[in-house]
Each structure stands twice: as C-alpha cells, then as structure tokens.
C-alpha cells in the first residue's frame, strides 16, 4: 500500500464519494475494497450463482461510479449499496424464475467459506459480528419472516402461505422483528 492508498483508506465514505464524483477512480477502488465483500455476499445469497453474483457486484459498483443517486443525508452508503444490490438481485431472480435454480440456491448456501482477507475487512468483520449477534437475539419466527422478506423478496401473504400462519400474525412478526433488531443495533446506529 503506497502513501496515497494509505491516505484514502482513512477517508470517510462521503469523502470518497465526493472524490469519486470528480472522476477519481482510486476513490472507487477504495470503496470497492471496503464494500465489495458485503455486496458480493448479498448477491450470492440471493442469486446462488457465483458468476451472476460477480456480474451484479460489478453492476452495483459501476452504478455507484456513474450515477449520482447516492445522497449521504438520506442514509449510509452501506445501506444504499445493500438496498440496490438486493433490488437488482431479486429482479434478476424474478426474471429467470426457474424452479430448479430456486432449489439449487438452498444447496449452495451450505458450501460458503470464510474469507481470509485480513486488513481492510476488519471493520466489516466487526459490523458483521454485531449484526449476527443481534439477529440471534430475535425470536425464531421474527428472524425467519424478516429473512424470507429480505432475501427471497416474498410478500407478507406469500410468507403467510409458506408458514401456514395468518397474515396479521406474519405482519406482526416482521414488524416486531425489525423493531427488535433496531433495539439490538441501537448503539451502532445512534
């Protein structure tokens, strides 16, 4: 890592986005190093296909590079990236809409490995641990409903059918789940 890279790695996300908008491709590289692991793991979770996940990861970072739609006052860069990744991944999922692929997704989830990229991911690892811990504090049903809605893009009524539970109950589980998660993550967000 040279001096320039060292300096960039200490910049905030907003500072890097501002640099990127002046055409500074090195700022994009730093943001990529910071968030590609998060974007890729989400893309892989939804798409269950390494090649498609890589393709989508590229799409997302190019959208960040070319677009001007991220605004810092509307939320963190991390949530902008995960929201964009999720939407595009679910969109791709719907467009291929193959039952076979849907089944394959579950089997491939079992074979995920741990990353050994040591330096840049330190804070990402800390956040990951924090969110994982918070999710384990949730009642099973609340966590399950949140995951079905978030990763599988299922509507509340689809979830109600899948879990054979009344729609009102499912809504309550997901809302309470989100509120509980928010309480667990309060110190991280406030």
């Amino acid at each position: 890592m040279d001096d320039d890279e060292n300096r960039r790695s200490t910049l905030t996300d907003s500072e890097l986005v501002a640099a990127m908008r002046t055409g500074d491709a090195a700022a994009l590289a730093t943001l990529y190093d910071r968030y590609s692991s998060l974007v890729y793991r989400l893309a892989l979770r939804i798409l269950s296909d390494a090649e498609e996940a890589a393709d989508l990861t590229q799409d997302v970072f190019l959208a960040l590079w070319r677009g001007n739609r991220y605004e810092a006052n509307r939320g963190s860069l991390s949530s902008f990236l995960t929201t964009l990744t999720r939407s595009r991944a679910i969109d791709r999922l719907r467009s291929r809409s193959s039952k076979l692929r849907f089944l394959q997704r579950w089997s491939q989830l079992m074979t995920t490995q741990s990353s050994s990229n040591p330096f840049e991911v330190a804070s990402l690892e800390q956040r990951s641990e924090f969110v994982r811990e918070a999710l384990t504090q949730l009642p099973d049903k609340q966590r399950q409903v949140l995951e079905l809605a978030y990763y599988d893009g299922l509507s509340q009524s689809e979830i109600a059918t899948q879990l054979e539970a009344p729609l009102g109950t499912v809504k309550s589980w997901s809302r309470q789940g989100l509120l509980n998660l928010r309480k667990q993550l309060q110190s991280l967000l406030d």
């Binding site: 892989l44 979770r45 595009r88 995920t112 967000l189």
Partner: protein
C-alpha cells in the same frame, strides 16, 4: 424512540418493510406531517433492514473482479451536447416526481428506483448502443403548442437500425392515438416506429428502423392509427440540426 407510542413504531416498521395497508399508510402520513422527527426514526429502521446482509457468512470475492470493475469504470459514457447525461435525466425526473408525491425518501421508493434502473440495465443492447463511440445524440425541440414543454433526444448510431428515444414532458394521448417518429430520407418521411407517453410524460423507448438511416432529420407526429406509412397528423417535435 422513547416517547413515541408502540403503535406508531409498528407503522414505521411496516413502512420500512413495505407492508402497510392503505389505511395505515394514511395514518402514518398524517403522523409524519405532525411530527417530522419521526422521519429520523424511519430512516434508522431502513438502515437496520439494510444492515441485515452483514450477518451473512463471508465469502471470498473473486480476485479478478476488482480489476474488471476498475477497468469497466474507465469506459467513457456518452454525454449529450447540453453536457447532461441522457438516461439519468429521464430516470431522475421520475424519481423526483415520486419523491415529491411521497414527501420523503423511503425504502420502497429506493426499491422502485433500483428496479427501474435494473430494467434499464437489463436492456443490454440499449446500454451497449449508448457506449458505442460513434453514437450521436440528436436533440428534438417542440414545434407545437400541444407539446410546448416537451424536450428530449434521440440516440442514433451510424450503421445501426436501432434508435433510442428519450423524451420528457410529452403529454399523454387519447386512446387510439400514437406518437410516431419519422426520419426524412431523400425528401420522404419514413416511419421509424410508434410509442405512447405515460402519466409522467417521460418516454424511453428503443425503435428499430426499417433500414439503416443516413439522415438525422427526425420528426415526431401525433397519428390516429397504429399503422401509418406517411405522416398525416400534426408535427409536434423536430430535430434541431
């Protein structure tokens, strides 16, 4: 989040999750108008939801992807003569109208925008066309009171039969009416295709010309039939060459 009733938190959570009923949405809108500070809590809930993927197991990102992304970022994007980019104009105005209608940013809106972006992204031939170095932008101007505020561009690539029409503020037509794009070849107008305008007035369509056009003299008319071989209706926009 201490002095807000539990039911309000449920509504905020439902909003972030995108599962409010119309009545609940109305109740929340009224509450947000009275207590703008609730929007902060809403944003926190959206952040919490968007943080869920952190909990996913870490997987190694393919090492070659980094250089691919950085290389792709160096491919120049086409800018129209006005200095503004064409696709973001159409999309951002859709988003701006939607943001005004909702009164605030929200997860669902961002989702809709992302979906729109994904739809555009899925039209790979369209994007590929925009990235060709020979692509030219032809600016269209209003020539009729009926579409006085209409502006936009047509993307033309020499040697390619496909053109992209990107227009704003184009009034919606009555049922049975169509906008037609014409190209003038050897003094004769040839139909390039037809399209309609949505409620937002934004149009982004790809039309395929019957032959490779050599001319960039373009015109848009309003016609009363879906099968026109020569223009009969009023001309509302023309190219400004």
């Amino acid at each position: 989040m201490t002095d807000t009733p539990e039911s309000m938190h449920e509504l905020l959570a439902g909003y972030a999750l995108g599962d409010l009923s119309p009545e609940e949405a109305e109740a929340l809108r009224a509450a947000l108008a009275e207590q703008p500070e609730l929007a902060t809590e809403l944003q926190k809930l959206q952040e919490v939801l968007a943080a869920m993927p952190y909990a996913l197991p870490e997987v190694p990102v393919p090492t070659e992807l980094r250089s691919q992304v950085l290389k792709a970022a160096q491919v120049p994007t086409i800018r129209p003569r006005s200095g503004r980019r064409i696709l973001p104009i159409a999309l951002s105005s859709v988003a701006a109208i939607a943001a005004l209608a909702f009164g605030l940013d929200n997860w669902r809106l961002r989702e809709q925008l992302a979906t729109t972006q994904a739809q555009v992204a899925s039209q790979k031939d369209l994007i590929a066309m925009l990235q060709q170095p020979t692509t030219e932008l032809v600016t269209l101007k209003s020539t009729d009171e009926m579409a006085a505020d209409a502006t936009g561009n047509v993307v033309v690539t020499p040697g390619d039969q496909g053109v992209i029409v990107a227009l704003q503020n184009l009034p919606p037509l009555q049922t049975g009416q169509y906008y037609y794009l014409w190209v003038e070849e050897n003094g004769k107008k040839v139909a390039c295709g037809k399209f309609t305008s949505t409620g937002t007035g934004n149009v982004l369509v790809k039309l395929v010309l019957p032959t490779v056009a050599t001319s960039k003299n373009l015109a848009i008319t309003v016609e009363n039939s879906p099968q026109m071989s020569a223009p009969q209706g009023p001309m509302i926009m023309t190219s400004t060459l």
